[in-house]
């Protein structure tokens, strides 16, 4: 028994030792249409030049509730059901940055920490003492500081950048899991139904078993 206690103690110690990696800033993504709509707008303006969202089609945005005329300006002469491909070609991006920018459709679920990872990454840029650009979350990243967070010194500017990052991440969370709201809603019905059904089964079970003496 003592052996196992020491083992358990070791486990606790080991898990606290692990937690010392770069800390993510937790973010609670917005699910309301306004936030997500601001997020698409920011992504179209700041990210779409380099990044694709190949699993999202323009008409998905219209179905989501974004104004059709706005979507029309984004898609230009591409058809409504074409995927949101990046404006820059992959080979150009590799030439410019040394690495192809990854597709963002699933980004909010594709890293440990999910949306919080992307949020912390976007806000993680800083200027090193040598005057170089660094990132706390992904130190060797080839992506430039898109939100310009490393140049912001005042609180108001920082808050604005955080708000924008949250909008972006909220949209990316939607893009990664567009049916989440439907799923939750259906989930409540299913659980409610199961709860009633199980309760009734419990009553029937008691009744059937009460015949046994």
């Amino acid at each position: 028994m003592k052996k196992f206690m020491t083992l358990l103690a070791c486990c606790c110690f080991a898990s606290s030792a692990l937690a010392s990696e770069a800390k993510l800033e937790a973010v609670k993504v917005g699910v309301d249409l306004q936030t997500v709509a601001r997020g698409v707008d920011a992504v179209m303006n700041s990210c779409h030049s380099c990044h694709s969202l190949k699993y999202i089609k323009y008409h998905d945005l219209v179905n989501l509730g974004i104004d059709k005329s706005v979507v029309d300006t984004w898609r230009g002469d591409q058809p409504m059901d074409s995927a949101m491909l990046a404006q820059m070609s992959e080979s150009d991006a590799v030439q410019a940055y040394g690495k192809a920018p990854p597709d963002l459709s699933l980004m909010a679920k594709a890293r440990d920490g999910g949306a919080s990872y992307v949020y912390s990454y976007l806000l993680g840029y800083y200027i090193t003492p040598e005057g170089m650009s660094g990132n706390h979350i992904y130190p060797a990243t080839k992506m430039p500081d898109i939100l310009g967070i490393s140049g912001i010194t005042d609180e108001a500017g920082r808050a604005e950048a955080q708000g924008k990052a949250r909008d972006i991440v909220s949209f990316l969370a939607w893009a990664a899991d567009p049916d989440e709201q439907t799923r939750h809603k259906l989930g409540y019905y299913v659980l409610g139904y199961l709860f009633v059904l199980t309760f009734l089964l419990y009553l029937v079970k008691n009744q059937v078993w009460s015949k046994l003496k």
Binding site: M1, K3, F4, L7, L8, C10, C11, F13, A14, S15, A17, L18, Y55, P102, S105, L106, K109, A110, R111, D112, G114, A176, D177, P178, D179, R183, H184, L186, G187, V190, L191, L194, F195, L197, T198, L201, Y202, V204, K205, V208, W209, L212
Partner: protein, 420 residues
């Protein structure tokens, strides 16, 4: 009209008598606890996996260039495709959870002992089939973890004596995990569940020949057995309701907690993820694999760790009935074993450091020790318990049981007559 049809069938096929004997009238110990619900639940989850799997297969493409996209097609374009996929991916975890509880129940109550050895071994076979099925299914979404998990595990077959290299290529159908591997894994992932169904039938035939064990560990007198229907049909349905509630919490509210984030990145053979982890249900065995510094040794240890359960009927020498119920030392050993599994699972999950390596090695030793010490502990424990004095009715039962076993050993052919 239905009665006439049934009568017509009964004259040509033992329908009513089969249903009466094996289903509704099957005599079941009345004292079964809720731990006995998990066998039925395993069967239910199997059906759920087959049903969702067949519909997924209608939209899935087994091709390295298409499979990742086809999963997204299922998730986004197919009507309720996300539900199918989340039910299936959550169902795999649910399956292992249910099976692990089912096995723990058997270990705790000693239901693997005579005359249920064959039943236990068919269960062991089912575990292996389930593991193979889940492992192959996990490759299908063709994400980073799919690819690297399959690469790591197929690579282990390098440990095969003399033909290691060839066996790995033979399994993959190529020098690396690729299109050939994906296609064959899909074909086999489709096939194996049906083999599992066949094995489940064998499992049930064995069960119905030796009958269910029960928490007292003693074969009950006929009056303590009650018909399966309606008592256990309703109890199983009630348990199913409870199970479905937990399952649906995962399916509807946290399905992604069971999918590794890196599996949302398409497979990339050029880029190894910094930390390859298997699904949670393989973690304890994975930890054992990593605990042995030598690869062949690790593979042998891992294979043995899964197969150890099969030796339990030989290892447990105690004649005290009732599994852990009347056996305090065995009970303690059981709980320590559960704890050891959790430690191993944790060690398998975290990136290896010298510290977790050491913990893993100690836990691996404890794992095997908990099996290999069973013969000695069970003998000593039995002597101690008898000296201390068992309840008289238990002693009487032990005597009649060992007489029964001796009889069977003397004249195995008598068994058939005994049963009838």
């Amino acid at each position: 009209m239905p009665n006439r049809i049934i009568k017509w069938i009964d004259q040509r096929f033992p329908l009513t008598s089969f249903v009466k004997h094996e289903l509704t009238g099957y005599p079941t110990p009345r004292n079964l606890s809720y731990w006995w619900n998990f066998g039925f639940l395993a069967g239910f989850v199997l059906m759920l996996q087959v049903a969702t799997g067949i519909f997924l297969a209608m939209h899935y493409k087994a091709d390295v260039a298409l499979s990742f996209d086809s999963i997204q097609h299922i998730m986004r374009d197919v009507n309720y495709g996300w539900l199918l996929r989340y039910m299936h991916s959550t169902g795999a975890s649910a399956f292992f959870f249910v099976i692990f509880v089912h096995m723990a129940r058997t270990l705790y109550y000693g239901s693997y002992r005579a005359p249920r050895e064959l039943l236990w071994w068919t269960g062991q076979g089912l575990l292996l089939l389930l593991m193979a099925t889940a492992f192959m299914g996990y490759l299908l979404p063709w994400g980073q973890m799919s690819f690297w998990g399959a690469t790591v595990i197929t690579n282990l077959f390098q440990a095969t004596p003399f033909y290691g290299e060839q066996v790995v290529i033979w399994l993959r159908g190529d020098y690396t995990v690729g299109d050939a591997t994906l296609s064959r894994f899909f074909a086999l992932h489709y096939l194996f569940p049906f083999i599992i169904i066949g094995a489940v039938i064998v499992h049930l035939v064995a069960l119905h020949s030796v009958k269910s064990s029960n928490p007292s560990g003693i074969d009950l007198a006929a009056k303590d057995n009650i018909p399966f229907h309606p008592y256990f049909t309703i109890k199983d349905l009630y348990g199913l309701g409870l199970f479905l509630m937990v399952y649906c919490v995962f399916v509807f509210f946290m399905p992604n907690s069971l999918i590794e984030p890196a599996n949302n990145i398409p497979a990339n053979p050029m880029q190894t993820p910094n930390h390859i982890v298997p699904e949670w249900y393989f973690l304890p065995f994975y930890a054992i694999l990593r605990s042995v510094p030598n690869m062949v040794g690790g593979v042998v240890a891992m294979g043995l760790s899964v197969m150890m359960f099969a030796f339990m009927p030989f290892l447990d020498r105690s004649r005290i009935p009732g599994g852990a119920h009347y056996r305090p030392i065995y009970r303690l050993q059981f709980y320590l074993f559960m704890l050891d599994m959790l430690v191993l699972g944790y060690v398998g999950y975290v990136p290896p450091t010298s510290q977790t390596m050491l913990i893993g090695q100690i836990a691996t030793l404890c794992y095997f020790a908990s099996f290999f010490l069973v013969p000695f502990i069970s003998k000593v424990e039995e002597r101690w318990l008898i000296k201390r004095g068992l309840p008289p009715q238990l002693m009487a039962l032990m005597e009649s049981e060992s007489a029964g076993i001796a009889k069977r050993k003397l004249k195995p052919q008598r068994r058939k007559g005994d049963m009838a």
